[in-house]
Symmetry: C2
Subunit: 175 residues, 2 copies
């Protein structure tokens, strides 16, 4: 029976991990900056098992942020262990979902004190992407969390995978 | 400043965790059985940190399965630790993504031996949902993994959250 390596040898499929180039960086940055929500993977604080939920997202210049409720399970998880991962790049309802590019970002969550100047600055930016967040911002249980990238994995479709460093997610100055 | 509890006390918001009823079970079952892909959260075998990727999915009668490559990082992760979590229920491109119902399923991954009768049976079912998987099925690196639910969390939109047991994901006989 054929194996993936056989396809590689016949040239029908390229090495699944490609050298990271500017095109890959630009695609990763675009997927992250255009995301308005994400799958957030955390460690379940009760069991240590993986847990994943959907949260809103706003990202600019490589720093993704979300406004989270202290009552939410993912928030309790991040308070217990800030290691997490995001998945952005949403396929449409039709067609092959696995042909659609997506980006995994492994990150560490940093909570923003409230009140603080940083909170106010983030609120202004966040409301541009999420106007309905005004209600949540008015509640003291909600605060911002910033996701500091550790490393990332870009899957641009079958046979187009890249490993990225945190710096690859930040647009070059002047770009 | 107002807090979420204040809204609860004034009746403007209900308890975020509701008692699980048949409507919640039906919605959870529908989200799972109609999913053709999922965010899969695993523990990174290199670092122990959370990792999340997108995989194809086919689910019927509460047992979700995927066809995965031995070369994929999530497969290596599941081989090292079968504890994982799935997120299904995709929002459209427009509107408020967090108003769209979604289901988190914490599960344990069980790999299906190949060759085996079970593999052949799963292949027939899987191809109905994923006709293009025929190519992958012809490669010896790919095998089926079944996700055995442990517990689940349904978020039917703001203020509509439910905790579910594994049995809640299985349609009642005759339903």
């Amino acid at each position: 029976m054929l194996r993936v390596a056989d396809l590689l040898n016949t040239g029908r499929m390229t090495d699944p991990i490609r050298p990271t180039d500017d095109e890959a960086r630009a695609l990763a940055q675009s997927l992250l900056s255009s995301a308005r929500f994400t799958a957030l993977a955390v460690q379940d604080p009760e069991t240590g098992a993986p847990y994943v939920s959907r949260i809103a997202l706003s990202a600019g210049q490589g720093a993704a942020v979300s406004l989270v409720s202290a009552l939410a399970y993912h928030t309790q998880a991040l308070r217990a262990d800030p290691a997490c991962a995001l998945l952005v790049g949403e396929p449409g309802q039709k067609g092959d979902a696995l042909a659609h590019p997506r980006l995994t970002v492994q990150a560490r969550a940093a909570f923003i004190p409230r009140p603080s100047d940083q909170h106010e600055k983030m609120a202004a930016q966040y409301l541009r992407d999420h106007p309905k967040a005004k209600l949540y911002l008015s509640l003291g249980d909600f605060s911002f969390v910033r996701f500091e990238p550790v490393r990332a994995f870009l899957n641009g479709g079958f046979g187009r995978a890249f490993h990225l460093r945190a710096g690859d997610l930040i647009p070059a100055a002047g770009a």
